[in-house]
Symmetry: C2
Subunit: 451 residues, 2 copies
């Protein structure tokens, strides 16, 4: 019997869409080719948080050792950690499958081969099966990018998925790409004992972040002993007798036990023949969507694969929105408001809304106010005094917040509320922040002199 | 020359009032008898956070050891920690004095002896001096309570101020009083190595908190090996040859190297002859204030001493409000909105707004929704899966939030925004929480089934 809604991909976008559809009594089929939870649960957000959680004690101890208030030794058991992470992921996937079943969603384990307007072909086992539906939600996600000459061999040269299964901490780790994926994993392996060499083509690490944030991160990681090279181009990367060997265009060479390739992500839209539906596919395969997240008259396209915002919570929001649109609950364009982004570890970063450079480019009447983390007693108590909080004001209202330092990812949700509501200085002044908190670093930035 | 505003007490209420007054060009005198920063900076919020920050590595390691993913040894250097804390407090007090000076506030080091309507007597050095003013802000704060038979001798029986200067971790620590002060300090000494015995007269620990929060805390502390006795009355507490000896009314006896008395706080209003002004003084000396925070026609009374809310951020809010009222900027009654409260450490608690029991008492149409911390991946990553987030809904709007567990104090400010704005279920549903975060434990509670 045909479904009302046919969802392809069981990551955050597809899974949350399926649950939202089931809740509304919509007959729903969900196709997943590998693991429920997608990249986020299986090879991204969640496993990296398990790794970073496991070295949080080391990060805390670092702060106290620096202040000479404590000393000690902590031994990480990486095989045990990897196994525990694996058990957690398995249990979560099982719980997700059970939730889908309970909600009445038909879960198909298979791979989409060809998409059509109202029917699609899925390979289930080895057999092609045809599924019919009223509408489809395409939520096939993304995968680690590989470039010519920059390819994971899954032995010495690893992608961000491979490296999560390492059972031995490499003595030396070469990290290619200083976006959040590279930086979070480098932080983990650094604290676990790897010597880190970080290579980035852009002129600064965390190149999508505010410049002051990049600079503070750079200082922190230098203090952690990382060898950082920015604005460099790679001539060759190879597996030389089981070790990674990297040559820069300027001739410099680096060797390491392992290399992590973290050079961005690519959309999972290969061979789907989306163009047959009239969908527009851009660049490496990013699927263009209209203001209602539709790629064609019957196909929504949500999550990473549409290239809008490669973040799990953005994907979930889009997936749920598509269901509500399908259900006729809303018809206005999709306007999610400001979407926060974080990097976890020690230090952390957060960002939401419009950053300074963008605000200036757009010709806004921009004012900036700041606070330094060193002035916050909680940061002081943890011996982690680097970093800052930076507020961007446009026409007298808060339009953006970013921060870098101890625990600042915990400011992301609060910052999102304030930015999405466009708080004024007066509103901030009249609001009571609890004391003493890290949140007061945000308060200090909000109330600081704006210029 | 007489001041416009005469402020007594340099804690959060008085200091923030003085800075707010100076900013408005009000001629201001601030009297402080001991240390700028008051109890919060010198014997309360801040030093306890330094202690808890120093054992955060131990708390994190505990979580990993429990999961068998790490092992290790951490040695705290208590004298070094106490000295570092001392240096931080001194530097902060110096910065506060400099800020007052720069702002043009006259700082008088002395003790208020007698308060009058438009002039007061202050002992400066050994000399009484008379200060004249238009209005006074009384912000004299509170001090650790002592009861007959329950008195600190500052040797074996310590109050919450004394214990901060210990340079040796007691092998055993008896904690009398299971409010936040007792529980935070007990957490620190427990992780630093003391065997903890906790004694509380109320039927449960953290008796002012939601019952489910108390219960979860109790479980956590039991797992940490504490010997907890609730609903008990003390017959005797004494220093027996340099050790603390406690006898309960039921005859049971406990001995320990040290005893911490944390049995509440008392207002600093002794011998001020406030009654001469027509002020009403209640109970142990709590000063009654009207809807404009006034104790008499020329005297505002703010912070702990008025007994409204014994929290630093409430005190600051009141102090600033009094200045704005004096300046004629506002005339409506003081309505601060919901004031958050937290306990720090591992586990933590947070609370803001109306709790379940109060909401039911008030006859509201109450619904409760919850999430368990075990379902949050960040809590899982830290191996700290106890606790919950609990939302209280009244007439379809969020009226209260409380939580207990790993890092939940970071939910306090966010919770305060949501409660003060009275968010609906629909608003929560449409808001994008960043993933993965601890804040999603709040999201899960907000969106959970309400009954």
């Amino acid at each position: 019997m045909p479904s009302d809604l046919f969802i392809v991909g069981g990551g955050p976008a597809g899974y949350d869409a399926a649950m939202a559809a089931a809740k509304r009594g919509i007959k729903t089929t969900l196709v997943e080719k590998e693991h429920l939870g997608g990249s986020c649960l299986n090879w991204g957000c969640i496993p990296t948080k398990f790794l970073l959680g496991a070295v949080a004690s080391l990060a805390e101890l670092e702060g106290q050792v620096k202040m000479k208030t404590a000393s000690g030794q902590i031994q990480l058991d990486l095989p045990a950690l990897v196994d525990r992470k694996k058990r957690h992921l398995e249990a979560t996937r099982k719980a997700m499958a059970a939730a889908l079943d309970k909600a009445g969603v038909q879960l198909v384990r298979g791979e989409l081969k060809m998409i059509g307007a109202v029917k699609s072909v899925v390979t289930v086992g080895d057999e092609p099966q045809v599924f019919e539906y009223k509408r489809c939600i395409l939520a096939t996600g993304s995968r680690p990018a590989a470039h010519p000459g920059l390819k994971a061999d899954h032995d010495a040269i690893l992608n961000s998925g491979d490296i999560l299964s390492l059972r031995e901490v490499p003595k030396s780790l070469l990290v290619v790409g200083a976006g959040f994926i590279g930086l979070e994993l480098a932080q983990f392996f650094s604290r676990a004992g790897s010597a880190i060499t970080l290579v980035e083509a852009a002129p600064r690490i965390a190149p999508s972040e505010d410049e002051e944030v990049s600079k503070a991160l750079h200082q922190s990681f230098k203090r952690m002993g990382w060898d950082i090279h920015t604005g460099v181009r790679i001539a060759a990367l190879e597996n030389a007798a089981g070790r990674a060997r990297l040559v820069l265009e300027d001739g410099r060479e680096f060797g390491a036990d392992k290399c992590l390739l973290a050079v961005g992500r690519l959309p999972n839209s290969r061979n789907l023949m989306l163009e047959m539906l009239g969908a527009e596919v851009k660049g490496a395969g990013w699927v263009h969507t209209d203001e209602h997240l539709m790629a064609s008259p019957t196909v929504y396209c949500v999550g990473d694969v549409n290239g809008r915002t490669l973040l799990a919570h953005a994907a979930s929001s889009q997936g749920e929105w598509a269901v509500r649109h399908f259900a006729g609950e809303l018809s206005d364009p999709y306007e999610p408001g400001p979407i926060p982004g974080c990097m976890y570890g020690a230090p952390e970063t957060m960002r939401v809304g419009i950053m300074e450079a963008q605000a200036r480019e757009e010709g806004m009447d921009v004012k900036i106010s700041r606070s330094q983390m060193v002035a916050n007693p909680i940061a002081q108590a943890h011996g982690a005094t680097g970093g800052l909080v930076k507020c961007v004001w446009g026409e007298g209202r808060l339009v953006g917040v970013t921060a870098v330092g101890h625990g600042v990812a915990s400011l992301a949700t609060l910052g999102t509320v304030l930015v999405s509501q466009g708080w004024t200085h007066k509103q901030c002044e009249e609001f009571i922040f609890p004391h003493p908190t890290l949140d007061e670093a945000l308060k200090a930035a909000l109330l600081g002199p704006a210029a």
